[in-house]
C-alpha cells in the first residue's frame, strides 16, 4: 500500500489529491496514521505505536486500521497492488 505521488498532506490534516482535485479533512489520529503509512511503515510497527500511545486493544486497532485503509484506497489516496498488502 502506497500513498500516491499526487497526494499532498498538510500538518493540519488537509489532504489534497492533485490528480482528481478532491480534498479531505482528516482528524489528528487519521493524520498520524496517514503519515506513518506515507513513511512506508510496517503494519506491526504502526500497531505497536498505536497500542502504546492509545488505550485500545489489538482487535479494535486492526478493525479501525483496515477500515481507514479501505477509505484511503476508495478515495484514491493510496494504491494497493496486492489487496493483502498493508505494509
Amino acid at each position: 500500500m502506497k500513498i500516491t505521488d499526487e497526494i499532498r498532506i498538510s500538518d493540519n490534516g488537509f489532504v489534497f489529491n492533485s490528480k482528481t482535485g478532491d480534498s479531505f479533512n482528516i482528524n489528528p489520529t487519521g493524520l498520524e496514521l496517514t503519515k506513518l503509512i506515507a513513511l512506508d511503515s510496517d503494519f506491526d510497527d504502526i500497531k505497536e505505536i498505536f497500542l502504546e500511545k492509545y488505550d485500545l486493544d489489538d482487535l479494535t486497532f486492526e478493525n479501525d486500521f483496515y477500515e481507514f485503509c479501505a477509505l484511503l484506497k476508495h478515495n484514491q489516496i493510496t494504491v494497493q497492488e496486492d489487496p493483502l498488502d498493508f505494509k
Binding site: 499526487e6 492533485s18 490528480k19 482528481t20
Partner: protein
Amino acid sequence: MSKLKITIAVTGLNNTDNPGPGVPVIRSLKESSVFDVRIIGLVYETLEPGIYMEGLCDKIFLIPYPSAGSDELIDRIEEIHNREPINVLIPNFDAELFSFMKNEERLLKIGIHTFLPTMQQFQERDKDKLAEYGLKYGIKVPTSINLGSQSQIHEIKEKMDYPVMVKGQFYDAYMANNAEQVKQAFNKISAKWGLPVIIQEFVKGTEVNVIALGDGLGNTISAVPMRKQYITDKGKAWGGITLSDHHMLEITRRLIRQTHWKGGMELELIKTPRGEFYLIEINPRIPAWVYLAVGAGQNIPEALVKLALGHEVTPMESYSSGKMFVRYSYDIIVDLEKFETIAMNGEI
C-alpha cells in the same frame, strides 16, 4: 528590456453568469512580461460588463453580430482599424469565429494578425460530428444522435439509455430523463441555436477540462487541466482547481499533434470512476477560466499573441497543480452618460 507596444482587439466582454473569455484574456495580457498592451474592446451589446470596468479597455467599439453578415462585421473592424490600428485580434465567441477565420487573409492584408484554427479544424470538431472525430483520432466519445426534427426523438431509446444530454450546436446543454424532457429541451435549444440538436449519451463521471494552445504545427505550447469545483445552473465553472493528471495532458498533446491544432482550445472530458476519459466537446477558443492557467504559470493569451505575430514560442511544460479560482459578482455603479455614449455613438 523594454516591452513591445502593441494594440490588441478583444471580444467577449460579457462577464455575466455565462461569461465570455474577454475580460480574463485582457487581464492576462496586461500581465505580460513582453508586451505593453493597448486594449480595444469589441462588444455586441451595450450592457456587456467589460465596457464599464475601470482600467480594462483603452477604447471600446460596438460591432454588429456575425448573424448580420460576415462582410458587415469585417467592414466595421476595418473602419475601427483605420482609426485605432490593431496589431492582433482575439475573437472569443464560437459564433463569431467562422467570420474571422473566413476573413483571416483580408484582416492580415491590412495588418491585423489573428491566430485561429483552420476551417477544417474548426468544422470537424463540431458537436454534431463528434462521433466521427473520436473515430478518426482514436479518442473515446459518447454515443450521439443528431436530431433534425422532433419525430426522431423515438430513435434515442434504440441507441442509448436515459438520462441523455440534449445539446445545442454552439451552447446550451440539458439533461433529460425521458422523451418528454428531450422534447422540451429540443424546443428550447432549436429556437435559440437552430438545428441539429444533439443527443449525447450521459457518461457518468467527473467533468474535467483542459485549456490548451497549439502552434498549428502539431506542438502543444500550453496545456493546463482543471476540475470544476463549483458549477452554476448553466453548467459554467464558478470555481475550479488545476490538476496534475498526466493522462489528460497526454490526450491533449496527442490530439494537438494529430490535428495540428492552431490557436486556443478547451477540451471537455468526463473521467469515469474506472479512470477512462470521454471527450464530450472541444471549444475552439480560449475558455473563460483562462486566468487560472495564468495563475498556475502559463500565460496562454500572451503566447497566443506571440504566435499571431510570428514570434518564436517555447512550449510551457510546468504549472502549479492545486491552484484554484473562485469567481464573484460585483456591482459597478455607472453614470448614465457612459451608457448613453456607447448606445448612441457605438464607441467610448
